[in-house]
Symmetry: C2
Subunit: 134 residues, 2 copies
């Protein structure tokens, strides 16, 4: 059911500093920042040949990643997103096998304009996994 890895997300306090470190230290190609006010984040994309890394900076204290940064003041790995061919079937399989969906089990439109849901980290190896309709 899980398809390709869509992105790996890293939470950071300051996109400018983080982008400079990725550019200068490991030669990453980093995009210009984009704001996603509905999702409470500002994002840059780092392209690898087979996927992408997203650096996320919270827009304010209510951003979903603000609390994560309180616990992880250096920043850190926040989630992995996988594309799935049928998000509703994935959701139903999760619920049938005892895994919880964060928030409502109805998919929401994610930052990339496609339906997404997040699996409760406690129900999948302590790791926040986003599933996105391919």
């Amino acid at each position: 059911m899980i398809g390709s890895i869509n992105h790996i997300a890293i939470a950071v306090h300051d996109l400018g500093v983080a982008s400079a470190h990725w550019r200068e230290r490991v030669g990453a190609v980093v995009s210009a920042p984009q704001r996603f006010p509905k999702h409470g984040v500002k994002v840059v994309f780092i392209a690898a040949s087979n996927g992408k890394v997203e650096l996320l900076e919270p827009l304010d204290d209510k951003s979903p990643i603000a609390k994560f940064l309180e616990r992880n003041p250096d920043g850190g790995l926040h989630h992995i997103c996988f594309d799935v061919p049928d998000l509703i079937a994935s959701r139903d399989q999760l619920l049938a096998t005892g895994a919880r969906i964060l928030g409502s089990p109805d998919p929401k439109i994610g930052a990339h304009g496609k339906p997404v849901l997040f699996i409760h980290p406690k129900d999948l190896t302590g790791t926040l996994i986003e599933l996105q309709q391919a």
Copy 2:
């Protein structure tokens, strides 16, 4: 300089439980476990169409991931590994730009039989990054 994403590593207490959750809850195809005693871990691989996820279980208390699991009792995202075309050039660029290498700056042979090094997480957005000679 960074090339493709080689793998995403998740630390877990129990590969059997973790593998079952990934199989049953998100339909992952999970390999049989392999032991890497030199690296202190037992590993299964989850294949996605464009990369792989590795679940790592410590072989004992001295395993490099044992401490991580003490701090993260549910398990969690541990590191990302990127392939690089020239590991020594990557190392030199890291050191020249003020980033630290964990342990000796001389690459070691990693679990996949290729030279690797790990960047200090504090020097790259709080994220443990492994670089592997492509």
